[in-house]
């Protein structure tokens, strides 16, 4: 069996004096979708931020066998890690097109334009609003823009922090369908933090449940979803 694409070992993170992650281990194989579940304050968002060096960390993060910890955010992005932060992941003062151009900032190939057109086909509402500023889009449209912006990197690893936050259930479902189809066609490895446990387990291959900064539970997503006691204890549905 080959080594996992993303391998995290003993990851600790703190905001000032407040320790949020107490040494967590997890891994994601190439092309998989992994989901991180857990209550508010369990450290889900911090885990994603730690992978991108957006918070001070200890421990090891390996991407395709290469150590990421100690590197700067800009260098991690150059290794193909795209991060859609919670809430506002866009540039509100820039137009929709400029947001996507910014997403491809580290790329220098000639396909940036055609990629942009491709995401306008995937998310037609963005294409209709290409010259509007991102700040004038609705919450759902901004979330789509933030995801399209991240995909403009042609990431090998896509980190999504609560993509369903503030979206109508129907839009959320179609968004997850888009994500699974992107995963299937481009083979993009994804790590998703999500409150909507049933939806996330439906699309994920593996799941990790965080509790107070530690991994409380892990396993194949369908097994976790099928286990009633696990569902009641950790997932709340």
């Amino acid at each position: 069996m080959s080594a996992p694409y993303l391998e995290v070992a003993g990851l600790k993170a703190a905001y000032g004096d407040i320790q949020v992650l107490h040494g967590i281990d997890f891994s994601v194989d190439e092309g998989q979708i992994a989901v991180i579940l857990g209550a508010n304050g369990a450290g889900k968002t911090t885990t994603l931020r730690a992978l991108c060096a957006m918070v001070s960390t200890e421990g090891s993060v390996q991407l395709a066998g290469e150590e990421l910890s100690g590197r700067r955010t800009a260098d991690i992005v150059r290794r193909g890690v795209a991060h859609v932060p919670q809430g506002r992941g866009t540039f509100p003062d820039l137009s929709v097109e400029e947001n996507l151009m910014a997403g491809a900032y580290v790329r220098s190939d000639a396909d940036v334009r055609s990629d942009m057109e491709q995401w306008f086909e995937t998310f037609p509402v963005l294409g209709e609003r290409r010259t509007q500023t991102a700040g004038s889009l609705s919450g759902g449209e901004q979330q789509m823009l933030a995801i399209a912006r991240a995909l403009m990197l042609r990431p090998s690893l896509l980190l999504l922090d609560e993509p369903s936050l503030g979206l109508a259930p129907m839009i959320t479902r179609s968004l997850f369908e888009q994500l699974t189809s992107i995963n299937a066609t481009a083979g993009t490895t994804m790590l998703v933090v999500e409150q909507n446990a049933s939806l996330a387990l439906g699309v994920a291959d593996v799941a990790y449940v965080l509790e107070a900064g530690e991994v409380a539970l892990s396993g194949p997503a369908d097994e976790l979803a099928a286990d009633d006691s696990v569902r009641r204890a950790y997932l709340g549905y």
């Binding site: 150059r78 932060p85 506002r88 992941g89 540039f91 509100p92 003062d93 500023t133 919450g139």
Partner: protein
């Protein structure tokens, strides 16, 4: 009767008011002053766009640049235009150094400490210039020829005014192209729009801000080189210009390049007309502060500033 007494208080003479030549003369002088205010206001707008705060050290970096232009031209004998370009390059280098050493250690999203640091830099650089070059006044020649192609009695539109205006418009055009058509321009605007997302698309925030400082310093130096020939070069000169330029930038909207130019011209015209017709020469500086106050009260985003739209 009332009118006469109001006119009396302000020492307004109807002779003056009905003097067309005087109006035109003050209009031309207003354009001339306005162009110089606009040129420094452009530097303020540039740094505001990149960092989201008013950089008080900007005027001092421009002051340093103008002194360098003086050294290169008057003392080393370079043609003025060449000296100014050299000084722009040199002041950019100083600005990058200052940004790297004094600004970058502070987190870019905490504005207040940064503003205090720039205030400190203003005092340090101004004093340093005073220590090195002394407080005696010098004169820096203009980049443009003397004389006036358009003359009508006492009203003169000089080559210098035309050159200053042309320079300001050229700078606005080039900055517009830089910001909207280049990758560094995109990075620059992305950083000012959303710092965290800028990091997450791989933009190196520090160097991008350093570039903004360098660009603003070189524009400030150019602006200073337009201003100083109208006045005399001494270490406190930019402080006075800065007040008018700040008024210009506030009026135009702190983040609008075109606004800075129009704001500069309006402030320049207003100043000259008020001083001439209301005889308010002692209050010239106060008019600038009044403009800032009125703008902040009535329309905080200025004439052309962008209102930040963000739907929730």
């Amino acid at each position: 009767m009332v009118l006469a007494s109001v006119l009396g208080v302000f020492d307004i003479s109807l002779d003056k008011l009905s003097n067309g030549e005087l109006w035109l003369a003050q209009f031309f002088r207003g354009l001339s002053d306005g162009a110089t205010y606009a040129s420094v206001a452009l530097a303020l707008v540039m740094i505001y766009k990149s960092t989201g705060f008013i950089n008080f050290a900007q005027g001092s970096l421009a002051l340093l640049g103008v002194y360098l232009a003086y050294i290169f031209s008057v003392e080393q004998g370079l043609p003025v235009a060449v000296a100014v370009v050299c000084a722009m390059v040199a002041s950019s280098a100083v600005a990058m150094f200052v940004e790297r050493v004094f600004i970058r250690p502070f987190p870019p999203d905490h504005v207040l400490p940064l503003v205090i640091v720039t205030l400190g830099l203003l005092l340090i650089i101004d004093s340093a210039v005073g220590i090195v070059w002394g407080f005696r006044t010098r004169s820096l020649p203009s980049m443009f020829p003397s004389g006036a192609p358009i003359e009508w009695g006492i009203a003169q539109l000089t080559w210098r005014t035309i050159g200053n205006l042309g320079t300001v418009f050229a700078v606005v055009g080039l900055l517009y192209l830089l910001l909207s058509r280049t990758k560094i321009g995109l990075a620059f605007r992305a950083v000012s729009s959303n710092l965290e997302s800028a990091r997450l698309v791989g933009i190196r925030v520090g160097p991008t801000l350093g570039f903004g400082w360098a660009l603003a310093a070189s524009i400030g130096t150019l602006g200073g080189a337009l201003v100083v020939p109208e006045l005399l070069l001494e270490p406190s000169i930019m402080l006075r210009v800065l007040i008018f330029s700040l008024a210009a930038a506030a009026l135009g909207g702190l983040d609008s390049l075109v606004g800075a130019v129009i704001g500069g011209l309006v402030v320049g015209l207003a100043r000259n007309l008020l001083v001439t017709f209301l005889d308010l020469s002692e209050l010239a500086l106060a008019t600038a502060v009044a403009v800032i106050l009125v703008v902040l009260l009535v329309r905080p985003t200025g004439l052309f500033g962008s209102t930040r739209v963000e739907r929730v």
